[in-house]
Symmetry: C2
Subunit: 393 residues, 2 copies
């Protein structure tokens, strides 16, 4: 049994980045990993421009009425120079005319009966955006490895990066194992249960930006299992098994993995839920054996598999964000030899409220959970107000 930190480091060291990349459109690039720095081909703003609708003029003239000599729309070029006692009406985003050193907002002005305008505000700001104040030609505001979100698409669009190059998505084989499983379309009889892990994993793989390859339920014979894993290793970059990975008699998966040339790097983690988690490598392929219980499978995917997928895509932030938030109540547990992870809600006051949790088979505990909180190895009791690491889910 190794610590979660150790397990995470082992997975990290085992990842081989995928070399392939592809060119996509801006909207297709959403949630993909950028493969090159985005370099600006322009200054932004590309010219001195006004930040407000108003009148471009000289700050020294503000005590006197001003004669409007031109109207400057966004997208046009000013024709006239501002001299003493004059101004140009100007729209947000339009270039500043020569001679002007400030723009007074339209709401701080009044139109006098002779057609001149007068400043009625106080302490004017310049309201001018200087050329290149946000970015200069050749600068790179967006780095290789960025997981692309809508705000990054705005940056790419602004800088002319209209068909970005992104990493290909890893293919992930999903193999739920166990004779006790039936698919959700069936009503489980006798000692059967429905396969929930397989479908949860498909969704987790999609959410991680990778491509799920669902192999269906793999029955509990050594031959069937070996064949399924061999095929999965041949067809995909990552293989995820659930069930069949702990110490029971029928849990021959570790044995098969060794026969298939899979080097097992760990088979148990000091974390609850999720202790019987197996990890191995076969060449540059990764293989995860996740526990059969759906909460364990969910949590271990988030902790280990998702970061591995993001690293294969060369993402520079492969680990999920966590927040340090205060407990709403005292919290205790009976045993402390593993890192504990449990479902919580963050309430309106920003405090962490533990949810009812029967253990790793209790998937309903995740129905309303907004986060998974961690109680460190060795810690049995926490008082109200103490800070916990919370991972939003």
């Amino acid at each position: 049994m190794i610590s979660l930190d150790k397990a995470i480091r082992i997975v990290e060291q085992s990842v081989t980045a995928l070399n392939s990349e592809e060119r996509v459109s801006l909207s297709e690039s959403l949630n993909r990993v950028l493969r090159h720095d985005v370099v600006s081909d322009i200054n932004m703003p590309p010219f001195r421009k006004t930040a407000v609708d108003g009148y471009a003029c000289r700050a020294a003239d503000l005590d006197n009425p001003l004669t409007v000599i031109e109207v400057i729309a966004a997208g046009t070029t000013p024709q006239k120079t501002i001299a003493q006692g004059t101004c140009s009406k100007i729209m947000t985003g339009a270039p500043i005319p020569n001679g002007a050193d400030c723009v007074i907002p339209v709401e701080d002005t009044e139109l006098l009966s002779d057609g001149t305008i007068r400043f009625k505000g106080s302490k004017p700001k310049s309201n001018i955006c200087e050329l290149g104040e946000d970015i200069k030609i050749g600068e790179s505001p967006l780095s290789k490895g960025t997981l692309i979100k809508p705000q990054h698409i705005a940056i790419m669009a602004a800088l002319g990066c209209h068909s970005p190059i992104v990493s290909v998505r890893p293919r992930v084989s999903i193999l739920p194992t166990g004779d006790e499983l039936v698919e959700p379309t069936e009503i489980p009889q006798g000692s059967k249960i429905r396969n929930s892990n397989g479908h949860q994993l498909i969704a987790q793989v999609i959410s991680a930006g990778a491509i799920p390859m669902y192999h269906g339920i793999v029955g509990d014979t050594e031959e069937v299992t070996e064949k399924a894993i061999a095929r999965a290793l041949a067809e995909s970059d990552v293989v995820v098994l659930t069930g069949g990975v702990s110490m029971g008699d029928f849990d021959y998966v570790p044995r098969i993995m060794e026969r298939l040339g899979v080097k097992i790097l760990f088979d148990s983690i000091a974390v609850q839920p999720g202790k019987p988690t197996t990890f191995g490598v076969a060449g540059n392929k990764l293989i995860f054996g996740l526990p059969g219980n759906p909460v364990s499978s969910f949590v271990q995917f988030e902790l280990l598999v998702k970061p591995a997928l993001l690293m294969m895509m060369q993402c520079n932030e492969p680990y999920a964000r966590t927040y340090k938030l205060p407990l709403a109540i005292d919290y205790s547990r009976k045993r402390a030899e593993r890192l504990g992870l449990f479902p919580v809600i963050v309430n309106d006051k920003g405090e962490v409220e533990p949810l009812e949790f029967h253990g790793s088979a209790h998937i309903f505990s995740l129905a309303k959970a907004t986060g998974i909180a961690a109680i460190p190895l060795g810690v049995k009791e926490l008082k109200k107000g103490e800070l916990l690491d919370v991972r939003p889910i």
Copy 2:
């Protein structure tokens, strides 16, 4: 100018939920809004089962060696009853045999030379999951209105909800306006700039689970603009314009909206960035006029448009989660007549670090931001350690 809270309430009261729904597969249901309560057709666990690999026996017998009388795999039915001095080897998830009241984990046992096994642990737990302890027939762990995430898919799969009914996705027309705009494929000349808002909005609409309908750049003439808005209103559920919504001479959009039967409900919000934000309704269609600056457009979409889209889909949590996190440094601003929103990074200590921010045109400030923090209306200064509301982005 109204407060952001008031603006949010007005949008909320203007939303008409979309009636249409559709049946999808489990994996297609990811990020969609569930339209019905999911009711359990089974007890879970559906039988008394073991939580661990080990030996099912009587707690009273643990001081003595136990004779193994059967091996019970997951998915099979026990044939024998546990009597004094006997046990059955049992795999995780398998049914508990009659007569047993606990399962001792395999790692807490040793095999003696005569083939019996001996408990070598201390203080045994039962390790039995009772029938229906997680959920009972007819209970509903997952409510109508849930935004479906991977963990919810596990619940649906477990309960046999294999083709859930979800809300249809709203169609959102996107109309960037302004003669100064060119598309990202062009190099902007003179006083032109590239259209970044339009592409950012497409990605935001996709991220909100709705369908973007991109209309291209709308030029600055009243006729062209009116035609484009009329078409957008006819074809979609929500219309989002950017640019052309403030007080300049060429900003005739509010006038057109009125002509098209759009009732304007507000045209300015006490928030920075994003003050010149317009909102109106035409029948059950919503129309948003967002500011032309990309940071304002981004923020106002997240604050107003995204919740509206989620409410149209009858999502029961339409508002983004925020966290109350401490400031890493003292923070101040010059004016406090608007709610201030600014890009931040949450550092490793869980503290909020403001990023360089030149204002609403400064999209590069969002490149590395992990959140948007709020400084309340009327507040100019905050000290290190004071809690801020932070919205992850």
